[in-house]
């Protein structure tokens, strides 16, 4: 009895900071990739699926341009740039946040409760469980498209431009991740909200068109409420029109971080709500 008690009293108060989470995440990913390698068939089928999706998306794009050579003043190569940019920006959400798709099943079946008993952040614990390699195929496709369009438009390859590209690609990713976090977390309140995720994921297909096509109230909605205008359009303007970059483009990294934070808070609020009602 005594031994146990002493042990408990001396238990140090652990602080788990960024370094702790980074090291845990690294370990999970390495283990996960190792185990994925042992399921070759699954990997191949998923990769084929990913390639098909991208080909279909590209085909849709080509069919449109086959009929309409410019859209809102944007020509083929500029549109292709946006397209590639949006594909690259979508990679993180697919690679690192894919478990959001399982959320509603786990919540409905009650299995989600298992994430609530560990001394680590619930969002991190849940999201870290799945790392999705197949998103990398899309990354390659997107980088190829982006590089081709970059070359055709004749953008200078400077350190500054590459730095800008990286910063604003990360920005764009943050918006996409946040949108999917919001969409997934609706399942904590609404049974049968699976369609929200499906449709939000289809919204991303519109990120590749210039946001200048929107007008009126919808311009505000697609900029600030469902910010698909930030998934490719505003961030990429920094590169495409360096002479007249809108203020919103420069502010987008800030908004991206803010929006991601809000989506995280919303997700965690959902967990509180789940605790109260979940079986």
């Amino acid at each position: 009895m005594n031994e146990k008690n002493n042990l408990t009293n001396q238990m140090p108060i652990h602080k788990r900071g960024l370094k702790f989470y980074a090291s845990i995440y690294k370990k999970i990913i390495i283990q996960d990739i190792k185990s994925k390698m042992s399921y070759r068939a699954d990997f191949i089928i998923s990769t084929v699926g990913m390639v098909m999706t991208n080909l279909a998306g590209f085909l849709t794009f080509m069919i449109l341009f086959h009929n309409f050579p410019t859209i809102n003043g944007w020509d083929y190569h500029h549109m292709l740039f946006l397209y590639g940019f949006s594909l690259v920006a979508l990679t993180p959400v697919q690679c690192f946040f894919d478990n959001n798709w399982n959320l509603r099943f786990q919540v409905q079946s009650g299995d989600f409760i298992k994430y609530c008993f560990r001394p680590i952040n619930v969002f991190f614990y849940f999201i870290s469980e799945v790392f999705d390699v197949k998103g990398l195929g899309q990354l390659a496709f997107g980088l190829g498209t982006l590089g081709y369009a970059w070359h055709k438009i004749g953008l200078p390859v400077t350190a500054l431009n590459i730095g800008k590209t990286i910063v604003f690609l990360i920005t764009a990713s943050l918006f996409m991740i946040a949108i999917m976090n919001f969409a997934a977390a609706t399942c904590f309140w609404i049974i049968g909200s699976g369609y929200v995720m499906v449709i939000m994921f289809r919204f991303k297909d519109f990120a590749r068109y210039p946001a200048s096509i929107f007008s009126g109230i919808f311009k505000i909605i697609f900029t600030f409420i469902i910010p698909i205008a930030f998934v490719a359009y505003y961030p990429s303007l920094v590169l495409l029109t360096p002479d007249k970059v809108p203020v919103l483009s420069w502010l987008s990294p800030l908004f991206g971080v803010l929006f991601f934070y809000l989506s995280y808070r919303f997700w965690m609020l959902g967990v509180r709500k789940y605790d109260f009602t979940g079986s």
């Binding site: 009895m1 005594n2 031994e3 146990k4 008690n5 042990l7 408990t8 009293n9 238990m11 108060i13 652990h14 788990r16 090291s23 845990i24 370990k27 999970i28 283990q31 996960d32 185990s35 994925k36 399921y39 009650g110 299995d111 409760i113 298992k114 609530c116 008993f117 560990r118 001394p119 680590i120 469980e129 605790d275 109260f276 009602t277 079986s279």
Partner: protein
Amino acid sequence: MSKQASNEPAIVMEHVSKNFKVLNRREGLSGSIKDLFSRDYKTLQAVSDVSLTVGRGEIIGYLGPNGAGKSTTIKMITGVLEPSEGKIMVNGVVPYQNRTRNSEQIGVVFGQRSQLWWSLPLIESFNLLRDIYLVEEKEYKDMLELYRSLVDLEPILHKPVRQMSLGQRTLSDILAAFLHNPAIVFLDEPTIGLDVAMKSKIRDLILGLNAQKKTTVILTTHDMGDVDALCKRVVIIDKGKKIYDNDMDHLKTFFGSYRTLRMRLDGEDEWTERVIDENKTDVMKEIEKTQKEHKIKDIQVQEISTEEIIKKIYEG
């Protein structure tokens, strides 16, 4: 954190209640359509005024029929839920105020829901848990050594959880729950769906870990075999209220005047069972009564089983 007296209990609950707002669903198709337009909520008291003290190293059975408030209680002790009224202390920590701190000192096992990484070999899950709970390397090694002395670890250690049998999975989950040497472990239906041999293996493991590590164990189950094998004390809850809290031995003495009379009647293969309170009815009279109508092939008089006692308590 303040030092505690050495006889400080592991869990203290004082007058704890928990209320929920639930939807009243109407019946039938027309009811579903009405629910679309107006909804009717009512307050449900899942746990009402429960006080409970659990000492260190105790194994208690926390029993009750489905929906009695067992899982709500567990959720409050683990810090997932905040009680509506009353106070809870777990090993000197207020669980819902220090959820992270509290979860470092508890372990949880659900009989049918594995908490391990589905596709990883068990040892990798263990390694990850070691990192998550920040277990010292030496303690970790000692714990694995202890596990080896209690169960045959080798066949499962390098096997991914998804390929394990239910029994192996349950075993792994229990080992994982004890890995960070928690003060309290919650076991929810740990032997559900397992065969007799595996059940007894799991029970031996729990007893072994409890004896070695002085871990407090809270067991919720519908399997009275688990209770008989593991618990010295049982707490019974029904409709949110605590209706029984005492030793297993007391349970038996309390119902000591009860006997199970088993008779096999002529022309039947099955035993006919009847629970009789000897203070009220005489066993011999009961046999005579039956004999007038049937021919009795075989008779047994047994002490009442735990299963039947619990059934009697639930029925009130």
